[in-house]
Amino acid sequence: MIDSKPSPNPGHAIRVRGIRKHFGHLEALRGVDFELKKGEFLSLFGPNGAGKTTLIRILSALARPSSGTATVAGYDVMEADPEMRREIGVISHASFLYADLSPLENIRFYATMYGIENAETRAVEVIDEVGLKPRMHDRVRTFSRGMLQRLSIARAIVHNPSILFLDEPYTGLDQHASEILKDQLQALHTDQRTILMTTHDFSRGLEMCDRVAVMVRGKLALWESAEQVDPAGFERLYLETVEREGKN
């Protein structure tokens, strides 16, 4: 799958080589390799505990790998360069938002943290983009799960990152909120952002991606381009892959 050494090659948004991660005796990642070109959308599936969140934490420099290398936007994740942090945005099932502050206060705070000039103007802009401007002075604590997730998008894109990591963004959303989130992710992808999304939702995961991967027990067990995957037969393929790799 991978044929060249890691380098800060601007052609690749993400390049991962032999990433391993141990938590004591537990091996969460057992040698992960892949590359993602700029503007590509990867949907990463896998059972609970497969290592998907750990991989995202490593790629966003929130955790260090035990071994292996990874470059994100050309920067080594081990060095956690501030410039690399400016290139990435993370949307997780946790919102990273202060419940007692308003959307405007939250997003303005993060905008300041990213060193954005006119933080307030930019905050209003992204809140408007996710359709929450009418409620930008209300406390975040009063928001529904769907609104929180939209506000999470505003937080993640306030610094206009070129790479987005989405860790199970559809968790806990109803159909309507999922549809709104899908439209917003679609818009982010159209803007030529590189996106890595982990999800358990096959239909949501397959409808936008360019690449499909399945992670089982800390390894990539399947890596295909989206064109090669039949959405109708994907569930069977997934279950077979998980069962096969689970035995190894």
Binding site: A63, Y98, D100, G115
Partner: protein
């Protein structure tokens, strides 16, 4: 450097806005401090014991106990909804997070102390006269070390399930030098001595302030990681 300062200021501002909206921290700290003082007042016979001898100890015990409530809350707030992770994702130096949290804790403690001091003077019938300035200097020095060490240990204990128990267990033994120094200095000031006569204690407190702040800057990276 400008970005660093604006990040520190943004953290302080965020904590103040949160406190202004919730009014959880100040009210609980102040009420608890007054209750601690009341318990001591009822258990001490001030017609037998001089207020200047026991008062400083009571004042500092109230400050430390009430302050621990606020410090416990400090990083717990950052853990809700994974906010600390959100901060860690931003291009922000970990020491800026520490300074932001430490300075907001310091400000909350100083505001609480500003309300507590008149209560202390009434309960113990203490006349400060011209000793205001040295007493405020001692309170500032003692509270600085307390908030620095407390913020560091709060960040450490916030990862633990038993954080409410662990913070005081870790904090109080390490606070002993500053607590003793602050109690002695406060007592001597109430006895009418000038700061110039007490430079040993002043030096001790300042040394520990510097040690706690330096140790925090050196270790905060590792504490906030994973």
């Amino acid at each position: 450097m400008n970005l660093y300062l604006s990040q520190v200021m943004a953290i302080i501002r965020k904590d103040f806005v949160t406190e202004f909206k919730t009014r959880e921290l100040f009210s609980s700290m102040f009420v608890f401090a007054v209750l601690v003082m009341l318990i001591f007042i009822f258990s001490i016979n001030l017609s037998v014991v001089k207020a200047n001898q026991v008062g400083p100890g009571v004042l500092w015990v109230a400050i430390l106990f009430a302050g621990t409530l606020g410090l416990n809350r400090s990083f717990t707030l950052e853990k809700e909804n994974g906010c600390l992770q959100g901060l860690m994702l931003a291009p922000v130096d970990r020491s800026a997070i520490f300074f932001g949290k430490m300075l907001s804790n310091l400000a909350f403690l100083l505001i609480m102390e500003a309300f507590l001091l008149p209560v202390f003077m009434i309960f113990f019938n203490v006349e400060l006269g011209s000793h205001w300035a040295p007493l405020l200097a001692v309170i500032l020095m003692g509270t600085l070390g307390f908030s620095a060490l407390g913020t560091l240990l709060s960040s450490l204990s916030s990862n633990l399930k038993t954080r409410e128990i662990m913070l005081p267990i870790l904090l109080y033994p390490l606070m002993v030098p500053i607590a003793i120094g602050s109690v002695r200095l406060t007592g001597q000031i109430l006895d009418g001595k000038s700061l110039a006569d007490m430079m040993n204690w002043v030096g001790l407190i300042l040394c520990f302030d510097i040690i706690f702040i330096s140790a925090s800057i050196m270790t905060i990276d590792h504490i906030l990681e994973e």
